[in-house]
Protein backbone atom coordinates (compact mmCIF):
# COMPACT_ATOMS: atom_id res chain seq x y z
CA UNK A 1 0.00 0.00 0.00
CA UNK A 2 1.45 3.35 -1.04
CA UNK A 3 0.47 6.48 0.82
CA UNK A 4 0.95 10.04 -0.34
CA UNK A 5 0.10 13.26 1.41
CA UNK A 6 -0.81 16.85 0.81
CA UNK A 7 -0.68 19.58 3.41
CA UNK A 8 -3.32 22.24 3.96
CA UNK A 9 -1.84 25.22 5.72
CA UNK A 10 -2.70 28.85 6.41
CA UNK A 11 -3.28 31.30 9.24
CA UNK A 12 -5.53 30.74 12.22
CA UNK A 13 -9.23 30.39 11.31
CA UNK A 14 -8.56 30.28 7.55
CA UNK A 15 -10.78 27.19 7.14
CA UNK A 16 -8.24 24.37 6.92
CA UNK A 17 -10.21 21.91 9.04
CA UNK A 18 -13.41 22.57 7.05
CA UNK A 19 -11.52 22.12 3.79
CA UNK A 20 -10.29 18.66 4.75
CA UNK A 21 -13.63 17.70 6.28
CA UNK A 22 -15.38 18.45 2.96
CA UNK A 23 -13.58 15.71 1.03
CA UNK A 24 -12.29 13.26 3.60
CA UNK A 25 -13.93 9.84 3.51
CA UNK A 26 -13.29 9.40 7.22
CA UNK A 27 -14.30 11.73 10.00
CA UNK A 28 -11.42 14.13 10.20
CA UNK A 29 -9.11 13.09 13.01
CA UNK A 30 -8.97 16.46 14.57
CA UNK A 31 -6.83 17.69 17.43
CA UNK A 32 -8.95 20.66 18.28
CA UNK A 33 -8.90 22.31 21.67
CA UNK A 34 -11.00 25.05 23.18
CA UNK A 35 -9.42 28.45 22.62
CA UNK A 36 -7.93 29.98 25.75
CA UNK A 37 -6.78 33.32 24.34
CA UNK A 38 -9.41 36.05 24.29
CA UNK A 39 -7.73 37.65 21.26
CA UNK A 40 -8.11 34.49 19.23
CA UNK A 41 -11.67 33.76 20.28
CA UNK A 42 -13.25 34.21 16.87
CA UNK A 43 -14.21 30.53 16.98
CA UNK A 44 -14.77 28.00 19.73
CA UNK A 45 -11.95 25.57 19.04
CA UNK A 46 -8.66 25.47 17.15
CA UNK A 47 -6.32 22.82 15.79
CA UNK A 48 -3.29 22.34 18.02
CA UNK A 49 -1.40 19.47 16.37
CA UNK A 50 -2.90 18.56 13.00
CA UNK A 51 -6.04 17.55 11.19
CA UNK A 52 -5.98 14.35 9.32
CA UNK A 53 -8.23 13.30 6.45
CA UNK A 54 -8.08 10.39 4.04
CA UNK A 55 -9.08 9.66 0.44
CA UNK A 56 -8.62 6.06 -0.70
CA UNK A 57 -7.70 6.00 -4.39
CA UNK A 58 -7.62 2.24 -4.91
CA UNK A 59 -6.31 -0.87 -3.21
CA UNK A 60 -2.74 0.30 -3.57
CA UNK A 61 -2.91 4.02 -3.03
CA UNK A 62 -4.19 6.31 -0.28
CA UNK A 63 -4.02 10.10 -0.16
CA UNK A 64 -3.77 11.72 3.25
CA UNK A 65 -4.61 15.35 3.82
CA UNK A 66 -2.89 17.01 6.76
CA UNK A 67 -4.06 20.33 8.13
CA UNK A 68 -1.52 22.35 10.05
CA UNK A 69 -2.25 24.29 13.21
CA UNK A 70 -2.67 27.93 12.27
CA UNK A 71 -1.33 29.67 15.33
CA UNK A 72 2.29 30.63 15.15
CA UNK A 73 3.16 29.09 18.48
CA UNK A 74 2.53 25.66 16.97
CA UNK A 75 4.78 26.25 13.96
CA UNK A 76 7.25 23.62 15.16
CA UNK A 77 4.69 21.14 13.74
CA UNK A 78 4.93 22.58 10.24
CA UNK A 79 8.28 21.13 9.30
CA UNK A 80 7.29 17.71 10.56
CA UNK A 81 4.05 17.81 8.58
CA UNK A 82 5.73 19.07 5.41
CA UNK A 83 8.04 16.09 5.23
CA UNK A 84 7.31 14.01 2.16
CA UNK A 85 4.33 16.03 0.94
CA UNK A 86 3.30 16.00 -2.72
CA UNK A 87 2.32 19.63 -2.57
CA UNK A 88 0.47 22.08 -0.35
CA UNK A 89 -2.55 24.33 -0.25
CA UNK A 90 -2.29 27.71 1.50
CA UNK A 91 -5.73 28.66 2.79
CA UNK A 92 -6.39 32.36 3.24
CA UNK A 93 -9.48 33.89 4.83
CA UNK A 94 -10.62 36.39 2.15
CA UNK A 95 -12.51 38.40 4.75
CA UNK A 96 -9.55 39.01 7.07
CA UNK A 97 -6.88 41.11 5.35
CA UNK A 98 -5.04 41.36 8.66
CA UNK A 99 -4.03 37.70 8.15
CA UNK A 100 -2.63 38.14 4.61
CA UNK A 101 0.84 39.03 5.81
CA UNK A 102 0.95 35.93 7.98
CA UNK A 103 -0.34 33.82 5.08
CA UNK A 104 2.50 35.10 2.94
CA UNK A 105 4.98 34.25 5.67
CA UNK A 106 3.56 30.71 6.06
CA UNK A 107 3.79 30.25 2.30
CA UNK A 108 7.47 31.28 2.30
CA UNK A 109 8.20 29.02 5.24
CA UNK A 110 6.65 25.98 3.58
CA UNK A 111 8.46 26.71 0.33
CA UNK A 112 11.68 26.73 2.28
CA UNK A 113 10.84 23.40 3.91
CA UNK A 114 10.02 21.65 0.66
CA UNK A 115 10.02 23.21 -2.83
CA UNK A 116 6.94 21.30 -3.92
CA UNK A 117 4.10 22.76 -5.99
CA UNK A 118 1.42 24.72 -4.17
CA UNK A 119 -1.78 26.63 -4.74
CA UNK A 120 -3.39 29.41 -2.73
CA UNK A 121 -7.07 29.08 -1.87
CA UNK A 122 -8.94 32.33 -1.23
CA UNK A 123 -11.49 30.94 1.22
CA UNK A 124 -14.85 32.36 2.37
CA UNK A 125 -15.53 33.88 -1.03
CA UNK A 126 -19.24 33.48 -0.28
CA UNK A 127 -19.06 36.18 2.39
CA UNK A 128 -20.07 39.76 1.62
CA UNK A 129 -16.85 41.23 2.93
CA UNK A 130 -14.57 38.83 1.03
CA UNK A 131 -11.74 40.48 -0.87
CA UNK A 132 -11.66 40.08 -4.61
CA UNK A 133 -9.17 37.33 -5.46
CA UNK A 134 -7.14 39.58 -7.78
CA UNK A 135 -6.83 42.18 -5.01
CA UNK A 136 -5.68 39.36 -2.77
CA UNK A 137 -3.05 38.38 -5.32
CA UNK A 138 -1.55 41.86 -5.04
CA UNK A 139 -1.84 41.95 -1.25
CA UNK A 140 -0.26 38.52 -0.95
CA UNK A 141 2.41 39.46 -3.52
CA UNK A 142 1.71 36.35 -5.56
CA UNK A 143 3.35 35.99 -8.92
CA UNK A 144 0.94 35.77 -11.87
CA UNK A 145 1.88 32.11 -12.40
CA UNK A 146 0.85 31.13 -8.86
CA UNK A 147 -2.65 29.67 -8.82
CA UNK A 148 -4.93 31.71 -6.56
CA UNK A 149 -8.27 29.90 -6.44
CA UNK A 150 -11.50 31.37 -5.09
CA UNK A 151 -12.90 28.85 -2.65
CA UNK A 152 -15.60 28.04 -0.13
CA UNK A 153 -14.13 25.34 2.07
CA UNK A 154 -17.50 23.90 3.10
CA UNK A 155 -18.39 23.30 -0.57
CA UNK A 156 -17.12 19.90 -1.68
CA UNK A 157 -16.96 20.82 -5.38
CA UNK A 158 -14.86 23.89 -4.56
CA UNK A 159 -12.47 21.82 -2.49
CA UNK A 160 -12.20 19.22 -5.25
CA UNK A 161 -11.29 21.97 -7.74
CA UNK A 162 -8.52 23.26 -5.47
CA UNK A 163 -7.06 19.78 -5.00
CA UNK A 164 -7.28 19.08 -8.73
CA UNK A 165 -5.51 22.33 -9.57
CA UNK A 166 -2.73 21.37 -7.19
CA UNK A 167 -2.44 17.95 -8.84
CA UNK A 168 -2.33 19.57 -12.29
CA UNK A 169 0.51 21.77 -11.04
CA UNK A 170 2.37 18.70 -9.78
CA UNK A 171 1.92 17.03 -13.17
CA UNK A 172 3.11 20.16 -14.97
CA UNK A 173 6.19 20.31 -12.78
CA UNK A 174 6.94 16.67 -13.56
CA UNK A 175 6.68 17.45 -17.27
CA UNK A 176 9.04 20.40 -16.79
CA UNK A 177 11.49 18.16 -14.96
CA UNK A 178 11.49 15.75 -17.88
CA UNK A 179 11.97 18.47 -20.49
Amino acid sequence: MQTVKMVVTGPFNAGKTEFIRSVSEIDVVSTERKISSVAERVKETTTVAMDFGRITVDDDLVLYLFGTPGQKRFDFMWEILSEGMLGFVVMVDSTRPETFREARSILETFRAYAPTPYVVAANKQDKDDAWDSEDMRIALRLDSNVKLLPCVAIDKENVKSVLLELLYSILAEMDLGEA
Partner: protein, 273 residues
Protein backbone atom coordinates in the same frame (compact mmCIF):
# COMPACT_ATOMS: atom_id res chain seq x y z
CA UNK B 1 22.57 33.47 41.37
CA UNK B 2 24.37 33.98 38.06
CA UNK B 3 22.49 36.10 35.61
CA UNK B 4 23.12 34.18 32.41
CA UNK B 5 21.17 32.49 29.68
CA UNK B 6 20.17 32.81 26.05
CA UNK B 7 18.39 35.78 24.46
CA UNK B 8 16.09 33.25 22.84
CA UNK B 9 14.53 32.67 26.25
CA UNK B 10 15.09 36.03 27.91
CA UNK B 11 14.88 39.03 25.63
CA UNK B 12 17.10 42.11 25.67
CA UNK B 13 14.26 44.31 26.93
CA UNK B 14 13.56 41.89 29.79
CA UNK B 15 17.27 41.91 30.68
CA UNK B 16 17.56 45.70 30.61
CA UNK B 17 14.39 46.04 32.61
CA UNK B 18 15.84 43.74 35.25
CA UNK B 19 19.13 45.66 35.35
CA UNK B 20 17.22 48.93 35.60
CA UNK B 21 14.82 47.84 38.35
CA UNK B 22 17.50 46.04 40.39
CA UNK B 23 19.87 49.01 39.86
CA UNK B 24 22.65 46.61 38.99
CA UNK B 25 26.31 47.53 38.54
CA UNK B 26 28.47 45.42 36.26
CA UNK B 27 28.87 44.40 32.62
CA UNK B 28 26.46 42.50 30.40
CA UNK B 29 28.35 40.37 27.89
CA UNK B 30 26.41 39.00 24.93
CA UNK B 31 27.85 36.59 22.38
CA UNK B 32 25.56 36.79 19.37
CA UNK B 33 25.91 34.78 16.17
CA UNK B 34 28.19 37.27 14.43
CA UNK B 35 28.84 39.86 17.05
CA UNK B 36 29.91 40.19 20.68
CA UNK B 37 28.62 43.16 22.65
CA UNK B 38 29.61 44.42 26.10
CA UNK B 39 27.50 46.93 27.96
CA UNK B 40 28.46 48.30 31.37
CA UNK B 41 25.95 49.64 33.89
CA UNK B 42 26.33 51.63 37.09
CA UNK B 43 23.42 51.44 39.53
CA UNK B 44 21.07 50.44 36.74
CA UNK B 45 22.16 53.18 34.35
CA UNK B 46 24.01 52.74 31.07
CA UNK B 47 27.66 53.70 31.59
CA UNK B 48 29.63 52.33 28.67
CA UNK B 49 29.24 49.99 25.67
CA UNK B 50 31.37 48.46 22.98
CA UNK B 51 30.98 46.06 20.06
CA UNK B 52 33.55 43.25 19.83
CA UNK B 53 36.92 44.51 18.69
CA UNK B 54 35.53 47.52 16.80
CA UNK B 55 37.50 50.73 17.25
CA UNK B 56 35.70 52.58 20.04
CA UNK B 57 38.38 55.12 20.86
CA UNK B 58 37.15 58.61 21.67
CA UNK B 59 38.84 59.99 18.54
CA UNK B 60 36.95 57.58 16.28
CA UNK B 61 33.63 58.15 18.06
CA UNK B 62 34.02 61.93 17.67
CA UNK B 63 35.00 61.51 14.02
CA UNK B 64 31.93 59.35 13.34
CA UNK B 65 29.81 61.98 15.12
CA UNK B 66 31.30 64.58 12.73
CA UNK B 67 32.86 66.49 15.63
CA UNK B 68 36.33 65.92 14.17
CA UNK B 69 37.34 66.12 10.53
CA UNK B 70 39.09 63.23 8.78
CA UNK B 71 42.35 65.18 8.89
CA UNK B 72 42.00 65.90 12.62
CA UNK B 73 41.17 62.26 13.27
CA UNK B 74 44.25 61.13 11.36
CA UNK B 75 46.56 63.55 13.19
CA UNK B 76 45.19 62.53 16.60
CA UNK B 77 45.66 58.86 15.81
CA UNK B 78 49.21 59.49 14.68
CA UNK B 79 50.33 61.86 17.42
CA UNK B 80 48.13 61.01 20.38
CA UNK B 81 47.57 57.29 19.85
CA UNK B 82 49.15 56.55 23.22
CA UNK B 83 46.78 58.85 25.16
CA UNK B 84 43.82 57.52 27.10
CA UNK B 85 40.32 58.72 26.20
CA UNK B 86 40.16 60.83 29.35
CA UNK B 87 43.47 62.52 28.57
CA UNK B 88 42.50 63.10 24.96
CA UNK B 89 39.14 64.53 25.99
CA UNK B 90 40.78 67.03 28.33
CA UNK B 91 43.31 67.97 25.68
CA UNK B 92 40.62 68.63 23.07
CA UNK B 93 38.51 70.69 25.52
CA UNK B 94 41.50 72.74 26.70
CA UNK B 95 42.56 73.35 23.11
CA UNK B 96 39.01 74.58 22.37
CA UNK B 97 38.58 72.02 19.64
CA UNK B 98 35.43 70.71 21.18
CA UNK B 99 33.20 71.24 24.22
CA UNK B 100 32.67 68.83 27.11
CA UNK B 101 29.02 68.68 26.08
CA UNK B 102 29.95 67.59 22.54
CA UNK B 103 32.06 64.77 23.93
CA UNK B 104 29.34 63.56 26.29
CA UNK B 105 26.58 63.72 23.67
CA UNK B 106 28.75 61.89 21.12
CA UNK B 107 29.57 59.15 23.62
CA UNK B 108 25.94 58.87 24.73
CA UNK B 109 24.78 58.49 21.11
CA UNK B 110 27.48 55.92 20.43
CA UNK B 111 26.59 53.83 23.50
CA UNK B 112 22.87 54.00 22.70
CA UNK B 113 23.63 52.89 19.12
CA UNK B 114 25.51 49.88 20.53
CA UNK B 115 22.55 49.06 22.75
CA UNK B 116 20.22 49.36 19.77
CA UNK B 117 22.36 46.79 17.96
CA UNK B 118 21.91 44.57 20.98
CA UNK B 119 18.15 44.80 20.47
CA UNK B 120 18.49 43.29 17.00
CA UNK B 121 19.85 40.05 18.46
CA UNK B 122 17.22 37.38 18.96
CA UNK B 123 19.64 34.67 19.96
CA UNK B 124 22.96 34.61 21.81
CA UNK B 125 24.44 33.64 25.13
CA UNK B 126 24.51 36.37 27.74
CA UNK B 127 26.01 36.72 31.20
CA UNK B 128 26.12 39.58 33.66
CA UNK B 129 29.46 40.06 35.42
CA UNK B 130 28.93 42.09 38.58
CA UNK B 131 32.63 42.63 39.19
CA UNK B 132 33.48 43.78 35.69
CA UNK B 133 33.53 47.56 35.24
CA UNK B 134 34.59 49.71 32.24
CA UNK B 135 38.34 50.27 31.85
CA UNK B 136 39.49 53.15 34.08
CA UNK B 137 40.82 55.21 31.16
CA UNK B 138 37.47 55.28 29.37
CA UNK B 139 34.94 58.08 29.78
CA UNK B 140 31.65 56.79 31.14
CA UNK B 141 28.17 58.31 31.07
CA UNK B 142 24.92 57.91 33.03
CA UNK B 143 21.89 57.27 30.86
CA UNK B 144 18.48 56.16 32.15
CA UNK B 145 17.35 52.92 30.54
CA UNK B 146 13.59 53.50 30.33
CA UNK B 147 13.58 55.38 27.02
CA UNK B 148 16.13 53.00 25.53
CA UNK B 149 13.95 50.03 26.48
CA UNK B 150 10.88 51.61 24.88
CA UNK B 151 12.74 52.51 21.67
CA UNK B 152 14.49 49.13 21.59
CA UNK B 153 11.21 47.27 21.99
CA UNK B 154 9.87 49.20 18.99
CA UNK B 155 12.92 48.10 17.02
CA UNK B 156 12.45 44.50 18.12
CA UNK B 157 8.91 44.57 16.81
CA UNK B 158 10.18 45.92 13.51
CA UNK B 159 12.82 43.20 13.33
CA UNK B 160 10.21 40.51 14.04
CA UNK B 161 7.95 41.95 11.36
CA UNK B 162 10.79 42.05 8.84
CA UNK B 163 11.72 38.48 9.65
CA UNK B 164 8.13 37.43 9.12
CA UNK B 165 8.11 39.14 5.72
CA UNK B 166 11.54 37.90 4.64
CA UNK B 167 12.22 34.70 6.58
CA UNK B 168 15.39 33.75 4.70
CA UNK B 169 18.23 35.89 3.37
CA UNK B 170 19.35 32.96 1.23
CA UNK B 171 16.68 33.89 -1.30
CA UNK B 172 17.42 36.29 -4.16
CA UNK B 173 15.62 39.35 -5.52
CA UNK B 174 14.60 39.93 -9.08
CA UNK B 175 13.02 42.95 -10.69
CA UNK B 176 9.36 42.51 -11.48
CA UNK B 177 8.27 42.52 -15.09
CA UNK B 178 5.59 45.04 -14.21
CA UNK B 179 5.26 47.51 -17.06
CA UNK B 180 5.66 51.15 -16.14
CA UNK B 181 8.01 50.55 -13.22
CA UNK B 182 10.87 52.93 -13.83
CA UNK B 183 13.74 52.95 -11.37
CA UNK B 184 15.02 56.27 -12.63
CA UNK B 185 12.04 58.10 -11.20
CA UNK B 186 12.51 56.72 -7.71
CA UNK B 187 13.87 58.60 -4.74
CA UNK B 188 16.18 56.05 -3.19
CA UNK B 189 18.84 56.49 -0.54
CA UNK B 190 22.50 55.76 -1.30
CA UNK B 191 22.23 52.37 0.48
CA UNK B 192 19.08 51.50 -1.47
CA UNK B 193 20.76 52.32 -4.78
CA UNK B 194 23.72 50.17 -3.81
CA UNK B 195 21.38 47.25 -3.06
CA UNK B 196 19.49 47.87 -6.32
CA UNK B 197 22.76 47.67 -8.25
CA UNK B 198 23.30 44.13 -6.98
CA UNK B 199 19.76 42.85 -7.57
CA UNK B 200 20.02 39.80 -9.74
CA UNK B 201 18.49 36.32 -9.41
CA UNK B 202 22.04 35.02 -9.03
CA UNK B 203 22.74 37.02 -5.86
CA UNK B 204 21.20 35.98 -2.56
CA UNK B 205 20.18 38.78 -0.19
CA UNK B 206 22.92 37.57 2.16
CA UNK B 207 25.50 38.08 -0.59
CA UNK B 208 24.12 41.53 -1.37
CA UNK B 209 24.30 42.43 2.33
CA UNK B 210 27.91 41.32 2.47
CA UNK B 211 28.82 43.26 -0.67
CA UNK B 212 27.11 46.41 0.54
CA UNK B 213 28.24 46.02 4.15
CA UNK B 214 24.69 46.01 5.48
CA UNK B 215 23.57 43.98 8.48
CA UNK B 216 20.65 41.52 8.38
CA UNK B 217 18.10 44.07 9.54
CA UNK B 218 19.25 46.75 7.10
CA UNK B 219 19.13 44.46 4.06
CA UNK B 220 15.72 43.16 5.13
CA UNK B 221 14.43 46.73 5.56
CA UNK B 222 15.56 47.74 2.07
CA UNK B 223 14.36 44.52 0.44
CA UNK B 224 11.01 44.93 2.20
CA UNK B 225 10.56 48.51 0.97
CA UNK B 226 11.37 47.43 -2.62
CA UNK B 227 8.93 44.54 -2.27
CA UNK B 228 6.23 46.83 -0.93
CA UNK B 229 6.78 49.19 -3.86
CA UNK B 230 6.20 46.21 -6.17
CA UNK B 231 9.63 46.63 -7.77
CA UNK B 232 11.11 43.27 -6.87
CA UNK B 233 10.07 39.70 -6.15
CA UNK B 234 11.74 37.13 -3.95
CA UNK B 235 13.07 34.15 -5.89
CA UNK B 236 15.33 31.20 -5.21
CA UNK B 237 18.85 32.08 -6.37
CA UNK B 238 19.67 30.83 -9.85
CA UNK B 239 21.81 27.73 -9.95
CA UNK B 240 21.07 26.87 -6.33
CA UNK B 241 19.02 23.77 -6.09
CA UNK B 242 16.84 23.59 -3.02
CA UNK B 243 18.08 21.26 -0.34
CA UNK B 244 16.23 18.06 -1.02
CA UNK B 245 16.46 15.49 1.69
CA UNK B 246 15.46 12.05 0.45
CA UNK B 247 12.66 11.73 2.99
CA UNK B 248 11.14 15.01 1.80
CA UNK B 249 10.66 13.74 -1.71
CA UNK B 250 7.13 12.59 -1.95
CA UNK B 251 6.90 10.99 -5.38
CA UNK B 252 10.41 9.80 -5.68
CA UNK B 253 9.85 6.11 -6.07
CA UNK B 254 9.57 4.70 -9.53
CA UNK B 255 10.14 6.04 -12.99
CA UNK B 256 8.72 9.39 -14.17
CA UNK B 257 5.96 7.44 -15.93
CA UNK B 258 5.03 5.67 -12.70
CA UNK B 259 5.04 8.95 -10.83
CA UNK B 260 2.79 10.56 -13.41
CA UNK B 261 0.51 7.56 -13.33
CA UNK B 262 0.18 7.97 -9.57
CA UNK B 263 -0.82 11.62 -9.94
CA UNK B 264 -3.30 10.73 -12.69
CA UNK B 265 -4.86 8.12 -10.42
CA UNK B 266 -5.25 10.77 -7.73
CA UNK B 267 -6.83 13.15 -10.26
CA UNK B 268 -9.33 10.52 -11.40
CA UNK B 269 -10.25 9.68 -7.82
CA UNK B 270 -10.78 13.27 -6.75
CA UNK B 271 -12.87 13.97 -9.84
CA UNK B 272 -15.09 11.05 -8.90
CA UNK B 273 -15.68 12.18 -5.31
Amino acid sequence: MALKGNLRDFTVSQLLNLINLAQKTGTLIVDGQNVAIQVAFREGKLAYARVGEEDNSLATILYRAKKLSAAQHKIIRERAGHMSDKELGLLLINANYISQQDILVSLQNHFIAVLNRLFTLVEGLFRFESDLLPPGDKITVRINLENIIIEGTRRMREVEQLQDEIPSLDMALKFTDRPGANLRNLNLSVEEWRVVSYINPKNSMRQIARATKLNDVEIRRIAYSLLQAGLVDIVRPEGVRPVQLPSRQAVQKGTPEEQKSLINRLISRIRSL
